[in-house]
Symmetry: C2
Subunit: 264 residues, 2 copies
Amino acid sequence: MSRTHTTSLEKSLALLRGIVADGGRTPFNEIAAGLDLPLSTAYRLASQLVDAGFASRYGPNLYGPGLAATLLYSQSDASAHITRVARPLLKQLSQETGLTSHLGILESGMVTYKIRIPGRPPRAASFTREGMQLEAYCSALGKVLLAGLQDADLDDYLHEGAFVPLTPHTLIEPASLKQEILKTRQTGFAIDDREVSEDMICLAVPVAGPLGETVAAVSVSMLVGRGQNTDPMGFHPFLETCARTLGELLGAPRDAAQEADQRS
Amino acid sequence: MSRTHTTSLEKSLALLRGIVADGGRTPFNEIAAGLDLPLSTAYRLASQLVDAGFASRYGPNLYGPGLAATLLYSQSDASAHITRVARPLLKQLSQETGLTSHLGILESGMVTYKIRIPGRPPRAASFTREGMQLEAYCSALGKVLLAGLQDADLDDYLHEGAFVPLTPHTLIEPASLKQEILKTRQTGFAIDDREVSEDMICLAVPVAGPLGETVAAVSVSMLVGRGQNTDPMGFHPFLETCARTLGELLGAPRDAAQEADQRS
DNA sequence: CGTTTTCTCCCGTATCCTGAGAACTCCCAT
DNA sequence: ATGGGAGTTCTCAGGATACGGGAGAAAACG
């Protein structure tokens, strides 16, 4: 637990993280205590962070994000970064499974499809395009992403939405949707069984970010004809491996399995 | 020039700045060279930044912003920070001058009034409110903020706009607007002489941010009756002092006077 | 005005950072 | 294949420099 052999830069950056984490609400002495930093050291480091513009003094016992760093990072786009890292992995996933794979992120209540890798053989009538947006409630990707929300945000979504059925299988009851999403949190995957299109089944799992939170989701889609009852769970290990690898590349903590940790 | 006595954290943060500065376009060896860092040292520091999630490896000789830090800082709002720091200064400014003072920032082509401190005596019919948005081309604040744009962005603005005259004095010709803005860049201030309202004159100056760029503008407004010809330039020193102090609090470089440095 | 909390400064010590160079890995041109 | 060059990591010894306990300003508090 106590990582004794921590270098000075590590300490400073951990401190910075603590300072910026919630916009400067955590008292400084708590942050320092949480990192086992002697106060005198913590102050010295903090004042250097301030000098460099990465942090800022908000008040007594209070630091917050610095303007320089805010401006600096405001130009960089998280989803672009994820997309860039993810694309080769999804290509491999489609290679292995022969299925169409997607990566999606949640943007203001809608799923944005950032990556789409066609399966083999490339089925003609696949309707997704990169960059397109789709309602979240009906797709496997969407359900996984919704499962990653905080409880409060999730309830907001469920209460405000007008859920239109795309197929006879689409879930449109807020109650059963919530049920489904809670189940997703436990199992770590979601299935779309012809809920968005009559001939399509999808399986999706979350991708963990640096703090273990869900930053994206990946899925595989299979077309189903009449009668043939293919089970998507056979592909789950491939999908899971892909998502975990991606998460690690994005800096997710080691143990961030398919858990969804929900705070108040 | 060569700051020999630089601490390790300073070096690391300077390196990080260089890495994040333009989304990972600058080759790593150039950054290191620019900071007089031995390559071996630079690599060591960079890999620590990557481990901490503040930077990310984009490719050979290429680093970029890290996802963890991007997510971290994406929650913090630059304009809120500026507003918080600026408010007491504007209060003092209004005290000293007896005029109504404003702080505004540019948001997608419009000026957002973030702070409004009423003058003395509090004139009744002042039409600005905190949080309100106004077209940029007709106010002193707007002209200063436009003057802070890159040339390309400025031209975009001038070409796309439909400039509606609010008073007979409003400039609506793109050419004369550009003229006015170029003059503003040189002089370091802008005047709105009854261009937005028949009975109001404003004087505005830019506020410099951490890189010397314009991040906001402050102004004082005076009501003019018929005949009385008050010269707003008498208040310029007060305004200038306020803007400079604010800039320093925001981490502006010492020498960022009223210069507007324009890059290609 | 006394008391508590926050914060800075000092200073000897040991730590850990430094940076040249060797070594390794790719990648490309020959 | 072979050599060369750029990119990257590793090693290591010496010394700068970061560390952190503690004293005591300096604020906030009551």
